[in-house]
Symmetry: C2
Subunit: 347 residues, 2 copies
DNA sequence: TTCTGGCATGGAAACGATACCACACAAGAC
DNA sequence: GTCTTGTGTGGTATCGTTTCCATGCCAGAA
């Protein structure tokens, strides 16, 4: 096999072009203060040799790495993959690369990932904290000399910037909508209760129910199809079966829907359904499922924008305004489809 | 605001511990040939200072970057996000980070991304080529001293390793299945015809149709709901309306299904539907949609494994066996649900 | 005693880029 | 004529690691 050419260095170019390294450096950084002829000559040599600057060397010399770290629970989840896509776009617009790591919501994995990213000296960090309350995480992020923006879940009691949804208000809106439809026995279905987002949504549900003087019914055992089936069957066979379901997340909504469908329970006639977080086929399925929609793409975008803002005025004198950390709370939107009892016009 | 502590360096640790830099270096690299007492002392200092090695410096000194580049068309697409997730897992198992870039299938963006990644000197590259036939891409990849594995689409006429699906055979299986059901006028719906995967699937469709002495009907105008509606309406209003649809990709399948549903055309009674590539809710919609399933996660995993194999025996003497590039072709699987006319047992 | 060899350790030269400083030279101001 | 000013250029220290080589030391062999 032919030996592949190793990467030529700046000195190679310099020697080949008969100039000093300084000049070559100037050429690749815009070519200011370089004689036009020299410039052209050096450029030609660069082209011929296929020279590409070594980022590691640049980084070492004190410049930035031109990378940001992204720490998310999962890529397969459409919510996070949309965030990631948006963040990546902003990074690229800022001439930076994204180092992607996934945590599966495991704090240990999260710490390992952060450790790796810090060793790589990413210029900034975008993180969906596995545990919003983790003392260790908070300490690490406060200690390390790297700008951080938390996504989807804040890092509590910390001065870390964050971009999250108003889960509380969203859940109120959703629950209230079911109440407005006249449902009295609304059950809140969930599979988690440690995650910040889920807790906020449950809090919103409770708030709306209490305001309407209705009893809260919460089942947090729904983790997959099996457990959803068991939960729903038990509920329906109980003394006072629910007439509506508020599902606190995507997968819960889908599992609940599958169960109702398999059991041939008409939605919304026998039981209504409203989920938190929209998904691609929510409008295709019969009946179309009403949801509280989050501005998914905007979350990722805003977070990345804030991060790069921080990076920018970290260079110069930080403007006093941006001194205390940004805490963005984005609003959700109720999408009325049929599963809640609405009869939306077919678009 | 309190000034955040900058990163301490190896020399800081050395000074603080009263040893030479060499010793500290040995400690952080396993601590062999270091006096146990010294080892403990240095470790304590490292802990106290929160020292973390600077990857840029390590890289510069000739070691690898401990990163691989991932170049994919999109993250939001579940197919690619699953690939990415699998690849990321393998990378992490090899103590490496993934630099994520997305191309939107645009060759220009692809070249820009590759350029950036090469500047960062990623140890290897995982790429879903936007254009399998691009001469420029082939040249770049062959020239650059970086191991590359192509995913989902091979780089034609090149010695680049690849992991792809047997799209051709998969499409034959799917089409043949429709033929076996007795459908005669099977239309192939697609929205692309430049992508390698789609072309292969169309080729498979044609092959199966020709073997059965049936006429090929191909409509490659389906890009969104609107165009799908137009295409299907035209087809149905035509002189000999189709009795089955073979959709060449995920989004096409979904759009076709939505149109049929909106038009109240019973599936599979009036027209059958079979898609290429599975998706989460395919079994939840009514009727459940039959598909040709790809081993999504395996594609990403295998590709990453092959890449790290290459990285490994690049260090030592490359074994003659692995000399010529690996070309893996993974088999697809027909999932019989109801939309093709099958009556699968409800699991 | 002197030599050999293994251990624990440190000095200093790389790696590839940047940037401070210096220098040479030309053109105009006085 | 000297003094400034600006332009084009290069030498070289530097960033934080690794690694080659050298050193000092002690145990056991000769």
């Amino acid at each position: 096999m032919k030996k592949k050419t190793l990467h030529p260095t700046l000195s190679h170019v310099a020697r080949e072009a008969g100039v000093g390294t300084t000049t070559v450096s100037r050429v690749i950084n815009g070519g200011h203060r370089v004689n036009p002829e020299t410039l052209a000559r050096v450029r030609r040599v660069i082209e011929r040799l296929g020279y590409m600057p070594n980022q590691a060397a640049r980084t070492l010399k004190g410049h930035r790495t031109k990378t940001i770290g992204l720490v998310i629970p999962s890529i397969a989840d459409p919510f996070f993959s949309s965030c990631a896509e948006a963040a990546q776009a902003i990074a690229r617009a800022n001439d930076s690369l994204v180092m992607l790591t996934v945590t599966s919501n495991d704090p240990r994995t999260e710490m390992e990932n952060l450790d790796l990213l810090i060793r790589h000296r990413t210029d900034g960090l975008l993180i969906v904290p596995a545990n919003s309350q983790s003392q260790i995480l908070r300490d690490l992020l406060e200690r390390v000399a790297v700008p951080v923006v938390a996504i989807d879940r804040p890092v509590s009691d910390s001065s870390i910037a964050s971009v999250v949804c108003d889960n509380f208000k969203g859940a109120i809106t959703g629950t209230q909508h079911l109440i407005d439809h006249g449902y009295k026995r609304i059950v809140c279905l969930t599979g988690e209760s440690t995650l910040y987002t889920i807790r906020e949504r449950m809090r919103g549900y409770r708030k709306a129910m209490e305001q309407a003087k209705l009893n809260c019914i919460i089942d947090s055992s729904v983790k997959d199809y099996k457990s959803a089936e068991y939960a729903i069957k038990s509920l329906l066979d109980g003394p006072s079966p629910p007439d509506a379901i508020f599902a606190t997340k995507n997968s819960t909504t889908i599992h609940a829907f599958e169960v109702l469908q398999r059991l041939n329970i008409p939605v919304p006639q026998s039981i209504a359904l409203l989920g938190f977080d929209d998904f691609e086929l929510a409008s295709t399925v019969r009946p179309p499922i009403s949801v509280i929609q989050q501005p998914v793409e905007e979350i990722g975008r805003r977070a990345a924008e804030i991060l790069f803002d921080q990076l920018l005025d970290e260079r110069g004198a930080a403007s006093p305004a941006s001194r205390h950390p940004v805490q963005v709370k984005l609003q959700t939107r109720l999408i009325q489809r049929a599963s809640c009892g609405c009869t939306p016009p077919t678009p």
